[in-house]
């Protein structure tokens, strides 16, 4: 009898412990698996655990990228066990899950953190669907900067280019001296991010948003002109064999002094610093021609799945802590990105971060904060745009250009027929 009671007590204890764990520990899913990214997320989660007494938050890494995270989320949603919150991209990435009825609106938290005041307008518009906030930004990276090797520039007496003409002159000087002028990397994102500079040069800020909302066609003369400008400037400057490299391999080429310039998201600054290649000393940065005074950005937000009220409540508290200046700085400084919250003291950043913060403030003042077009377009159109631009960068012939325009225009027409575009 005693033995039965003891086993019963142990069983009850185990059940209680399991259920207490299930009640109090909430998962935050993300795909930051290593390096500065993981350090940033760990700091953000530590900040949440410190700020919220009644719940414990645990980061869960989904190895890979946004595609792998989507796969895991789809499975979790079907199984009815989503995380309390997860790393989400902006705009259509959020909209797809909102349309599926999978996200909880963050109206209360947004009001509590005063989201309309602490985030710039360009940031707000890509986390709200029909005016309702579904994501709270915590990670913002500019993608319109060109990084350059200071030693090479000093050796050749070069200045940071300010327009396309001086950019091409710099490329020629680097090439003549035996350096690879401009690094790039394979994959559907990097060539696309490079293409935004010629695109904005031709379309301007308003035209960029019109392309995103489906008002300007991919077969339009303006889009063709942007492709021509991309071909005549950046593509003509690209390093040999760029398409066979990853972005970290190309960053290594800049560090090793093989490549003069590299247009990449500002996360590359943290990568450089980890290799003791220091901002202001070994590398510096300029805004790509056509984007001076503007900021094109990639951003991650925290989204909360619909479902358990306890998880939603806990996630709300975590997000409130993550949106505070302390929370935002906790992530941005180790990650090497910018805090979307305008109240974060710029002194938290180093040399490179300060430059990016200045650029972002100037762009916000100019009302020229442009979200990544990839996520402003319906998912099928944005993804195909990335693939087609990479193809054009590898083979910038007129035939490929014509196929690119035709393929994308067909997708635009399909999306228009389905009323899939949004005026962000």
């Amino acid at each position: 009898m005693k033995r039965t009671r003891l086993l019963g007590a142990l069983f009850a204890g185990a059940i209680t412990a399991t259920s207490a764990y299930a009640q109090d520990t909430y998962e935050i899913w993300h795909y930051y698996a290593a390096g500065s990214e993981l350090a940033g997320m760990e700091a953000l989660i530590a900040n949440g655990n410190e700020a919220v007494d009644e719940a414990n938050f645990k980061g869960v890494i989904i190895p890979g990228n946004v595609v792998e995270l989507r796969r895991q989320l789809q499975t979790a949603f079907l199984g009815g066990q989503p995380p309390a919150a997860y790393q989400s991209s902006m705009a259509f990435e959020l909209k797809a899950f909102v349309d599926g009825g999978r996200l909880h609106p963050l109206t209360e938290v947004w009001s509590e953190i005063n989201g309309d005041e602490i985030f710039p307008d360009g940031v707000q518009r890509v986390v709200k669907i029909d005016g309702v906030p579904y994501g709270v930004p915590y990670d913002l990276s500019l993608i319109n900067n060109v990084f350059y090797n200071v030693e090479i520039f000093e050796e050749l007496g070069l200045e940071a280019p300010t327009d396309w003409e001086s950019f091409l002159a710099t490329c020629s000087a680097l090439s003549d001296a035996g350096y690879q002028p401009l690094g790039n990397a394979g994959g559907p994102f990097w060539s696309l991010y490079n293409f935004y500079a010629p695109l904005v040069s031709v379309l301007g800020v308003d035209g960029y948003y019109q392309l995103a909302s489906g008002e300007i066609g991919f077969d339009s003369p303006e889009f063709a002109e942007a492709l021509d400008l991309y071909r005549d400037t950046m593509v003509s400057c690209y390093a040999d064999n760029w398409s066979g490299k990853t972005w970290t391999q190309t960053a290594d080429d800049v560090v090793n002094g093989d490549t003069g310039m590299f247009m990449m998201g500002i996360w590359v600054a943290a990568y450089f610093e980890q290799a003791d290649f220091l901002a202001g000393e070994n590398f510096d940065v300029f805004q790509a021609p056509g984007t001076v005074g503007k900021s094109i950005f990639q951003m991650d937000a925290l989204a909360v799945p619909a479902g358990s009220e306890a998880a939603i409540e806990a996630a709300g508290k975590f997000i409130a802590a993550a949106a505070s200046p302390e929370g935002q700085a906790a992530f941005a400084v180790p990650k090497g990105s910018l805090a979307p919250n305008v109240n974060v003291d710029p002194s938290v950043y180093g040399y490179a971060g300060s430059r990016f913060a200045e650029q972002f403030s100037e762009a916000a003042a100019n009302d020229a904060v442009l979200p990544n077009l990839f996520f402003l377009l319906p998912t099928s159109v944005g993804t195909e745009l990335g693939v087609q631009i990479e193809r054009f960068a590898i083979d910038p012939s007129d035939a490929v250009k014509a196929e690119l325009m035709s393929t994308l225009e067909t997708l635009r027409q399909e999306a228009l027929a389905e009323n899939a575009f949004i005026a962000w």
Binding site: R71, F77, G100, G101, D240, S243, K245, Q249, D252, V387
Partner: protein, 301 residues
């Protein structure tokens, strides 16, 4: 008066009991997913919305109109041809060489088989480094031996990338073919080999006229597995190139994954899965049928 149902005897009941679990597993994990995929392929669904929209055969028709789809089909068929010839042939060659009783046999045995034990993602990481076009190991070695002109943009040139991936997969999977062939060679009765030698056969003749025909069961396993691996190829391609650049290295399983999770087109991805199933059936089923027949005939002989 209705006929009485006859109760199965004890032996039959035992058979049923033993069969119940494997049949349940087969139905749950093989039959149901196939039926579910066919059902999904007739709908438009993003993967998480509560409802799906019926579109009939539209997903199948759309795929047939896309050059991207046919490119993936051609890549899959090319992979089948490659997998049937290169890793299989190399594995047979290595097994035959090692079967001659050379010194350090056990070390070579481990060395040849070792790559097969590495996970696909690690293989991809290793070969991304090997294939770095400027400073990677392959380019550096070619330059060191004066063959720098042969260096390529291994993973970035659409015309080269599939050959590069095949090189990596050959390195990875040859160990399996080697092991099966080596075990097969060791199981051949020595009397047969001795008899051939006494009759004056050269080593070449002994291998082709005696050893190779007796390796038939091993060959069936290796060729069958290679063809199946080629049709379901996904992990190495996804982890190395994600099907790029610009779809050039995409196979059907990669396209299916990209459509399902990269573009929220679960219905179209399921249509790709059904096409893949049909293609596999057309290519592999006749082989399996033929091989099964040969095995039965061999056993009868």
């Amino acid at each position: 008066m209705p006929p009485r149902l006859k109760m199965p005897n004890r032996t039959t009941r035992t058979h049923i009991a033993f069969l119940a679990l494997p049949v349940a597993l087969f139905v749950t994990f093989y039959i149901y997913p196939i039926i579910s995929s066919i059902h999904l392929s007739l709908h438009s669904w993003d993967g998480f919305s509560p409802s799906m929209r019926w579109v009939g055969l539209q997903n199948y028709v759309t795929l047939l109109g896309q050059p991207r789809f046919f490119n993936a089909v051609i890549n899959n068929v090319t992979w089948v041809v490659f997998m049937l010839i290169v890793p299989t042939g190399t594995g047979l060659l290595l097994a035959a060489l090692l079967d001659r009783g050379i010194r350090g046999e056990s070390v070579f045995r481990i060395l040849f088989f070792l790559p097969f034990t590495i996970p696909a993602v690690a293989v991809a990481a290793i070969w991304r480094w090997m294939y770095e076009p400027s400073n990677g190991l392959l380019t550096t070695v070619l330059e060191l031996v004066g063959l720098g002109g042969l260096a390529q943009n291994w993973l970035g040139d659409p015309a080269i990338v599939n050959f590069s991936l095949m090189g990596a997969v050959a390195w990875w999977t040859t160990g399996f073919a080697f092991l099966v062939f080596f075990a097969g060679l060791r199981n051949i009765p020595t009397e047969c080999i001795e008899a051939a030698r006494i009759e004056g056969a050269t080593p070449w003749q002994t291998f082709w006229k005696v050893s190779f025909p007796l390796l038939w069961p091993s060959t069936i396993i290796v060729l069958g597995m290679s063809a199946i691996d080629a049709m379901r190829l996904f992990d190495v391609v996804w982890a190395t190139t994600q099907g790029g650049p610009a779809y050039s290295s995409e196979v059907l399983a990669v396209q299916m994954y990209d459509l399902a999770f990269g573009r929220f087109a679960m219905g179209r991805a399921s249509a790709v899965a059904v096409y893949l199933l049909l293609l596999s059936a057309v290519i592999i089923m006749p082989y399996i049928y033929y091989m099964s027949k040969r095995v039965t005939e061999s056993e009868a002989e």
